[in-house]
Amino acid sequence: MKRIALLLALLALATLPLWIGNSYYVNIATQMLIYAILALGLNVLVGYAGLVTLGHAGLFGIAAYAGAVLINNGHNHLVVAFGALAVTVAVTAVFAILALRGTGLGFVMITVALGQIVWGIAYRWISLTNGDNGISINTRPAPFGLSLLDASALYWACFVVFLVTVAAMAIFVASPFGAALRGARDQPRRMTALGYNVWLTRFLAFLFSGFWSGVAGLLYLYYNQFISPQAVALSASAEALLMVIAGGTATLLGPIAGAVLVIVMKDVASAYIERWNFVLGAIFVLIVVFMPEGLVPGCVRLWRRATSARRPRAATAALRQEGGR
């Protein structure tokens, strides 16, 4: 049943540009995939490592800015991809070394500060970032000769990257390293006594998380063909964190559901509801009150409760029928 549902969902996603028709909605779906990759990367830290960060938009933006600068300097897309991701991972390492000196609220505040430094650089280092005007690019890659200039082609490219991300996350979570990371989240003192290097475990998880944020940032650059300081602002980090928390931390589907929810509210509902921010806020309040574990685990819990309540009723009815005979 679960597998059939998964296959149907994959089939629907793979064929989305064919049945959705309007390229506007194809673009919205592409955005959902990009932000789902960002949220999945962030979930490694927030969900599996228990480290809440508010600086990931900085890493997302660094990949996009590095990609834009490399493209505008005439490099080919392979160099751009490797270069942008290498820069992102290197900056992530610096972020991690500094942020992991703190724990709890201290960790959050350091990530906020680091994210704001990136925003400051994007805003004020005009010779490199073009400041508030941002950087435009006039190209998209053409892997295997397939141009991504068309909305549907870009969607499919993002979909492939999205599938790779989900697979990478699934393997990571089920691995010994994933188990060690969750152990370090739940009982760091015990893990140290058991022989684990908790700091290094968290550091490597930070790098992994930063890498996927970089992948999302690069796709964002190709999607918008533009990057500006707005993409690295604190509100962008908060939005990514809300995607993870709203969907359900430490789950694979949660961050994806959270990304879909936020993009629907931001890009679809905003066309019909003037105060869409208010509605989004109200939805988050409802999630926190009624499903504090997040949308996906919350729905699973309600579904289980509903089905277990139905089962005894069915059993009682069957017994009554037996008794009546």
Binding site: P176, G183, T192
Partner: protein, 245 residues
């Protein structure tokens, strides 16, 4: 060569001295009991030996190797394992996963992000064996949160034993247990082979005296009496500390 040796250990928290010139020498295979009133510094001594707290001065050696400067995680790799007075497990995980995490701590596999943990058959086999050793194999797939307090004490011991330690530090392993559970845990500890040196902190003197070969009495961070069961029981300082006479 001693299994565990602590020499002239000092530790203070600000103006509060919690360990003053503590000396402890435990022979290989020995069963040592550390007793003392609440606040005597027993658990602090364990934390200093395992490296969870940094010592102010003094040395700690494990089978002749100086581990004073070694990180806590490194000491686990050198054969030092411990249990906690306040049970410290992974409550959301199954018993099997708890013991697997313990085994994984000493394995290079812990860095591997590419293989499935539930397909590491050797590791899982060892984890099942460790659970069988403490009589909990039938609960292997049950989450720790759904087990009794006594079972959790045994999981703690299973996790420590799974690492094949050379020196095992047991911090009040009978705390909070019923009389029957205490008997079970004592049998379990008594069954640990002599290859494992055991140092145990315990308040329950009836159970603990049965186990101990030598006893160290701590009082306000200092070793005041050390000797065999008979020597310690007869010593006037022990009586003074415990009976106030």
């Amino acid at each position: 060569m001693t299994a565990l040796e602590v020499r002239d250990l000092h530790k203070s928290f600000g103006g509060l001295r919690v360990a003053t010139a503590v000396n402890l020498s435990v022979a290989p295979g020995e069963r040592r009991l550390i007793i003392g009133q609440n606040g005597a510094g027993k658990t602090t001594l364990f934390n200093l030996i395992t490296g969870e707290l940094r010592i102010d001065s003094g040395t700690v050696t494990l089978f002749g190797a100086d581990i004073t400067a070694a990180a806590a995680r490194r000491r686990a790799h050198l054969g030092l394992a411990r249990t906690y007075q306040i049970i410290t497990l992974f409550p959301g995980e199954t018993l099997l996963r708890n013991v697997t995490l313990s085994l994984l701590g000493l394995s290079r596999l812990r860095w591997n992000p590419l293989v499935r943990l539930d397909r590491q058959h050797d590791l899982l086999e060892h984890a099942h064996a460790a659970l069988a050793r403490v009589g909990l194999e039938h609960l292997a797939d049950r989450p720790v949160a759904q087990t009794s307090y006594g079972e959790r004490r045994r999981i703690e011991i299973a996790m420590a034993l799974a690492q094949n330690p050379r020196v095992l530090l047991l911090d009040e392993p009978f705390a909070g247990l019923s009389i029957e559970e205490r008997r079970d845990v004592l049998n379990l500890i008594a069954g640990i082979p002599r290859g494992v040196t055991i140092v145990m902190i315990e308040h329950d003197m009836d159970v603990a005296l049965e186990f101990a070969e030598r006893i160290t009495v701590l009082h306000f961070g200092q070793v005041v009496v050390e000797g065999t069961r008979a020597e310690v029981v007869e010593h006037p300082r022990t009586r003074e500390i415990y009976l106030g006479a």
